[in-house]
């Protein structure tokens, strides 16, 4: 079904919090430079699944993971893999914009510094490039040294995306990136997604089914920790095969 090159792939992925089994035997292929949307009812494990893709779930005390996650064919849970490196290659954007309480410039430069880039001129250039990519440069170029918290919610979210982009990740995970944004800011982020997928592989969790339908190439429907159905987005929204998928996307879920 998926014809492009596979960037990221999970094989029989399971995640537990303590003895609560949250992600169950999840096997999914995520094609390169495409947008894959993950949809499903609240609490079904979408965020947990997303966080397991860059090993962030390990930061939760009591969390346990089994199965494989292959990034370009290499298991990111192998013992000799450095998780910080993984998180640089697989970036994440969260539901609520979470800029650091620092200047706009520092927010975007942060990851670059972690990567060992210290030369001021180079940093400036990369910060500018990232801010241009998210369409924020013109809005903030004159006040880069002011606090990121001064920005509006939509601007903050774009700043966070710029921060994720700055380190040139290969994959970007987005957990409901538009849920606190108005339709205009949402439209900007959606336009941005189309731009970004030229260079990046994107996985987006969203409760907004219309958004999933608008932006994604592939859609995965998750229910109670399991992958119920996965396919081209138009297939899922025009003729889902599974009854549960049909009930969920048509909003007839009791």
């Amino acid at each position: 079904m998926v014809k492009s090159k596979i960037k990221l792939q999970t094989k029989k992925l399971n995640v537990w919090y303590g003895n609560m089994h949250v992600v169950k035997d999840f096997t999914l292929k995520i094609p390169e430079k495409k947008i894959t949307a993950v949809i499903g009812p609240s609490g079904c494990g979408k965020s947990t699944f997303l966080r397991s893709l860059n090993r962030m779930v390990e930061l939760v005390p009591g969390a346990r993971v089994s199965g494989e996650i292959l990034l370009d064919g290499e298991n990111i849970y192998d013992k000799d893999v450095d998780e910080t490196e993984i998180r640089l290659r697989i970036g994440m954007v969260f539901q609520k914009p979470n800029p650091f309480p620092k200047s706009m410039y520092e927010n975007v430069a942060y990851g670059l510094k972690v990567r060992g880039i210290t030369e001021e001129k180079k940093l400036r250039l990369l910060v500018e490039e990232s801010l241009k990519k998210v369409g924020l440069w013109e809005e903030v170029r004159d006040r880069l040294n002011r606090s990121a918290l001064e920005l509006s919610g939509g601007q903050q979210q774009r700043l966070c995306i710029a921060r994720a982009l700055a380190v040139k990740p290969e994959v970007i995970l987005m957990d409901e990136p538009c849920s606190s944004l108005d339709p205009i800011a949402t439209a900007k982020i959606e336009d941005l997604l189309f731009e970004l997928k030229k260079d990046y592989t994107i996985v987006i969790v969203t409760h907004n089914l219309q958004q999933a339908a608008r932006v994604s190439d592939y859609t995965a429907f998750m229910y109670a920790g399991k992958l119920i159905e996965h396919g081209r987005t138009e297939e899922i929204f025009e003729r889902p095969k599974d009854k549960i998928t049909q009930d969920y996307i048509t909003g007839r879920f009791g």
Partner: protein, 220 residues
């Protein structure tokens, strides 16, 4: 999983379907009456068919409008969306069926007062088959019955065969008696209109299969 949420959307879809059924019933009756007017040479009935076509046209607009509202306000997907898409396609077919009934009624009026070319046997037979197909295509739509829809393909072949036969027969009249040319040609047109009506019924059947299964298929 309980159903029952999205009550409003479900009601709107039911309403669309019942209006489409109403349009189907009007179109079927129009064809039936138009052919009756032709056979009985009843100009009054023909005029009535022509007048009542307005109702079919009005319903087409009304249903199309309602479909647009539901799409804009409810953002339907999957089977809900396919049902609306199917209504939109079906009403175009039904509107054309109505127009063909008007064409036949006009022929009744044009041929009035002249001696008949021949007794009409195959044309009423064709009409019966075509109207039967149309009614069944609408029943298949109402019930979501794709096997009934599928059979329409075969029944359409029979109508095509009859149309061919009628045309051949009229052709011989046409050659025999030049005075009968214009009315023989008119009857050939009636046969081709009835053939078209059966094609519309077949199209409706294809849409019903799409609505039910999500697959676009040709059934003849």
């Amino acid at each position: 999983m309980k159903l029952g949420t999205r009550k409003k959307l479900s009601e709107q879809l039911e309403d669309l379907k019942s209006k489409t059924m109403e349009m189907g019933a009007l179109a079927s009756t129009a064809v039936e009456k138009a052919v009756e007017s032709l056979v009985k040479r009843n100009v009054r009935l023909a005029k009535k068919v022509i007048k009542e076509d307005d109702k079919i046209d009005d319903l087409e607009f009304e249903i199309e409008n309602n479909c647009m509202h539901v799409i804009a306000l409810q953002q339907p997907v999957a089977k809900d969306l396919r049902t609306i898409g199917t209504c939109l396609k079906i009403i175009t077919d039904l509107e054309r069926v109505g127009d063909r009934a008007v064409d036949i009624a006009n022929i009744t009026i044009e041929m009035a007062g002249r001696a008949p070319v021949k007794p009409l046997v195959d044309i009423p037979r064709m009409a019966e088959l075509a109207v039967g197909m149309l009614r069944d295509s609408m029943r298949a739509f109402k019930e979501g019955n794709s096997s009934l829809a599928f059979e329409l393909g075969k029944r359409d072949d029979e109508v095509d065969r009859l149309a061919h036969q009628v045309t051949r027969e009229l052709f011989s009249y046409l050659v025999e008696d030049p005075k009968k040319i214009s009315d023989a040609v008119r009857l050939m047109l009636v046969a081709s209109f009835l053939e078209r009506i059966a094609d519309h019924a077949t199209n409706i059947g294809e849409r019903v299969i799409y609505m039910e299964k999500g697959e676009m298929v040709r059934i003849n």
